[in-house]
Amino acid sequence: MLLCDRCFPRSVERRFRKAVYEKRMALPGEKIGVAVSGGKDSITLLHLMAELGRVKKFRVVALSVDEGIKGYREEALTCAREAASSLGVEHRVVSFRESFGATLDEMVRLAGEEGTGLDPCTYCGVMRRYLLNRMAREAGLVRVATGHNLDDEVQAILLNYLRGDLSRLLRLGPAYSSREGFVPRVKPLREIPEREVAAYALLKGLRVHLGQCPYARGIHAEVRDFLNRLESRHPNCKFGVLRTFERLKEGLGEDRKPEAELVGCEVCGEPTPGRVCRTCELLKGLGLR
């Protein structure tokens, strides 16, 4: 990893711009959302997108979700607010509590009492995507950029492989296609390793939250540590996993089943392939709907 104070940030910026241009992630005149948790990836992405937006004439709106994780999310949201304010970017925040009537901490407690057997990441992941999509649609955004880096992508590939979830595996990619009611998501940092994103944030002096989510455990963390150990001894194996996956996806592309048609959820009206969306199902299981 090269760490010349001037060349290294430029190299990250170049790879970011290449991804944005090649996949047409943001075009002049468009209004693009950036999902900002306050961590190093999303804060770095917000800075990069806001700076490129000024040059390429697209508008950036920061979107944050306050899940309600005591001792973790508060500081991260402060970083998000500061970054948006310093960049002069509109910042929208919604919370689990005001949207669903309970924080994630409360949901985790309820899940234990109700014996749902589901882990915190299931509630958090499903509901965060639900709120981000709703916020983006209400704000009239054409796309939402997320801070997923190379490590996130490779971990997701391996996890879906281990779980045998071919459908989810084949949906992974630099951009998700547009479907009625869903705002497409794009990942401009997808080919930049997590450690390099962190180095960029530090070299640029960005205020970021480096805390670890108290709910992060289980197989996801094990896959992350396994890949990092492997990469330390065999450099470039993360890129190897990504490139091989892309070639396999190309080959399997024609065999993919068409995605189910979307309808409005009977409870909340949000798009879903079934009668009731996953968020409403989860809330019902917790006695919140």
């Binding site: 090269l2 760490l3 190093k40 971990q155 450690r195 962190a198 992060a216 150990r229 330390s232």
Partner: protein
Amino acid sequence: MKVRVKAEGREREVEVAEGTTVGRLLEELGYDRESVLVRKGKKLVVEEERLSEGEELEVLRVVTGG
């Protein structure tokens, strides 16, 4: 020779052999190179950099996902 290492809110003195690199120090301390960055003052340093007597280093855990 001795170097001072700050990590995870703790600071300690570590005895290392002459010519030890940052990468070697990380291994000796049980860190995975991919999960951390090392700072000397305000500058980030690469794993190949050789340590000098009395240097102060900060190990930052930067992998937060999972």
